[in-house]
């Protein structure tokens, strides 16, 4: 492995950190255009880097293509970054969404407040770090980085609604972070290690007298992640917050809940897989039941939503509930389908959050918010001028309607697009032919199909209310606002057309997730097999 290949894995963390720092040093607001260009350049570079990392990870049979030791200390003692299929996939998803949201923000939102671009870069740094790290406490640190940036972005654009929901969001996340710390320190107190692979290898050997404490620690840790993933009954903060944030922020926040889901996927399958002795499958029923309750709650929420942003927020809940419940079934095939679903639903929701802003533009509520923002920052002239000079796309309503249908089809999981393939993959794996189908799989099937139906009803109703009204003038939409939505939806189409290779990749990912021994051996022996001079 060459020098560059070895160090590429830390680039997704270091690059946004430096970019954010440079933006702040440049003087933030005075050089907004330079910052905007830098933001887009870094987001595009991150896409390229994560594609390279993904190819690396997929080329290795065991799935772990690189274990990057910070400071070059031997493995259990210091922090490592671990690159495997799952983390590479999440990196790519993050950078794609980030690039779309960054381009979208250029049209108007990055002028609505201060320091949009640096905050955005720090959010990316936290996200990428959380996906790459192989150490529990380091995970906490990256969680805090991404949360601190997200606090700034939730409040971005100000206005009393955002400040109130932002305050509740911050309070909930501060409590969740404290729970995270309690869980981590309990686990350290019992197992004596914070390295995930090392921890997983020690779990089976924990004496029975200490096992209850370890499981308590893991449970508390789980609560902290499930708050972030939005599992019912820990999700009441989510709809209000997500409905209030600006569109590009909402789009990137679509992946914020997936961080919680990612950690559950990684840690639960690693720590409490079949190799965990007496603790195997600890909390699995809870994950399944909680995930299904989340789907039900989110579904009711989508049906009850009056405006589109709340509809999108509740769809986020349905999406993370589906993945959690599928993970709770603990079958390799279902997990593979769930990963496919995770990608497709996150792309669809990201596009939907951006689209809502465009659709609502000609209507009253959105206009109110913008008016408030404008008043606060006194930028009426600039805002209007920018709108006049923008190239208006012909047949705007037709394009918006088409994108809306695309989002609805992906989110509801209807046949032509990737959402359907994802749901089909999960269900066909859950109902394996030849074997007796457990009751919970039937319940999961019914809930999943009903939630799809409800999403369809809710989206259709919202669409009729917005698109089929007579006297309304077409909103002015610029090309750089429409393009990100189109690209995200085209990626869903691409995922459908290339469903074979993508699904093969997802199944390989699921297999390595369900084989924690490979991960442990990969991380613990990767470094000892190599020469200690790897960091030079």
């Amino acid at each position: 492995m060459s020098w560059a290949e070895n160090h590429l894995v830390i680039a997704p963390i270091v690059l946004p950190l430096f970019a954010g720092a440079v933006m702040l040093a440049l003087g933030g607001e005075r050089r907004r255009n330079i910052n905007a260009m830098l933001n887009i350049a870094v987001s595009l570079a991150l896409i390229a880097i994560s594609i390279m990392l993904l190819r690396d990870a997929d080329a290795v049979p065991g799935g772990i293509s690189n274990v990057y030791r910070l400071g070059d200390w031997p493995v259990p003692f210091a922090i490592v970054l671990v690159l495997d299929r799952l983390s590479a996939m999440m990196l790519l998803l993050t950078s794609v969404l980030a690039a779309a949201a960054a381009v979208f923000s250029l049209a108007r939102w990055h002028r609505a407040g201060v320091n949009f671009h640096p905050l955005f870069q720090f959010l990316l740094m936290g996200l990428n770090g959380a996906f790459l790290t192989g150490d529990l406490f380091n995970l906490f640190v990256f969680f805090e980085v991404l949360l601190a940036a997200s606090y700034g972005l939730v409040l971005y654009g100000s206005g009393s609604v955002r400040v109130m929901t932002g305050m509740q969001y911050i309070a909930v996340n501060l409590v969740a972070s404290l729970l995270f710390l309690i869980g981590v320190s309990l686990i350290y107190g019992i197992a004596g290690t914070l390295n995930m692979a090392d921890l997983a290898s020690r779990i089976a050997a924990i004496p029975a007298s200490d096992r209850a404490l370890l499981e308590a620690g893991a449970g508390i840790l789980g609560i902290a992640f499930l708050v972030k993933a939005g599992m019912w009954p820990l999700c009441f903060w989510l709809p209000g917050t997500y409905a209030a944030v600006p569109a590009p922020v909402g789009s990137i926040f679509a992946i914020l809940t997936k961080v919680g889901v990612y950690v559950v996927l990684r840690l639960w399958l690693l720590l409490f897989g079949d190799g965990a002795g007496a603790s195997a499958q600890f909390g699995g029923e809870l994950l399944l039941a909680g995930g299904m309750a989340t789907i039900v709650f989110g579904t009711i929420g989508t049906l009850a939503s009056q405006d589109m942003s709340r509809l999108a927020a509740f769809s986020v809940l349905v999406s993370s509930g589906t993945v959690l419940a599928a993970v709770g079934l603990a079958q390799t095939g279902v997990t593979g389908g769930a990963l496919f679903y995770l990608i497709s639903s996150t792309l669809g929701l990201g596009a939907f959050f951006l689209l809502i802003e465009l659709i609502e533009r000609g209507r009253e509520p959105g206009a109110d918010v913008l008016a408030v923002t404008r008043e606060l920052y006194g930028e009426e002239g600039e805002e209007d001028g920018a709108e006049e000079t923008g190239i208006a796309i012909p047949a705007t309503i037709a394009l918006l309607g088409l994108s809306f249908i695309g989002c609805a089809v992906v989110i509801a999981g209807l046949p032509p697009l990737s959402g359907f393939i994802a749901k089909f993959a999960m269900l066909s794996a859950a109902l394996q032919p030849g074997a007796a189908v457990p009751t919970q799989a039937w319940v999961f099937l019914v809930i999943l199909i009903l939630s799809g139906l409800a999403a369809l009803i809710a989206m259709t109703r919202a669409g009729i209310r917005v698109f089929w009204v007579s006297e309304r003038e077409a909103p002015r939409v610029r090309l750089i606002e429409m393009a990100p939505v189109a690209v995200l939806l085209l990626l869903c189409v691409l995922q459908t057309v290339q469903a074979g290779p993508v699904m093969r990749f997802m199944q390989a990912t699921a297999q390595s997730l369900h084989a924690p021994h490979d991960y442990m051996r990969g991380v613990l022996e990767f470094s000892s097999a190599r020469k200690p001079a790897g960091g030079t």
Binding site: F137, A148, L155, S160, L174, V175, L181, S185, G189
Partner: protein
Amino acid sequence: MEIVLALGIGVLAGSGVWLALRPRTFQVIIGLSLLAYAVNLFILAMGRLRTDAAPVLMAKGMGVPAEFADPLPQALVLTAIVISFATTALFLVVIIAARGLTGTDHVDGREPDV
């Protein structure tokens, strides 16, 4: 010593939870700070309570690890203190902004109907 520390953590955490569930923003932030103190003490306790043990290796050579206090939780506590301090400060700013925008210090942004 164990009982003193355990009582301390318990009282801090109990008061913190109570205050964090109160309806006024000032109570919430004090509650969160108290909870953070309780958690910091708890992390320290997870490194086992030792008196008169050196925190890091002093002389040359490895020595016997059992003679030293566990330095890792102390490092974790430092990180946790910094992070909770910073986020609490940020929260304070948001609370002041909310007070200014809504004219009330209730967490819902309006006074409850009596």
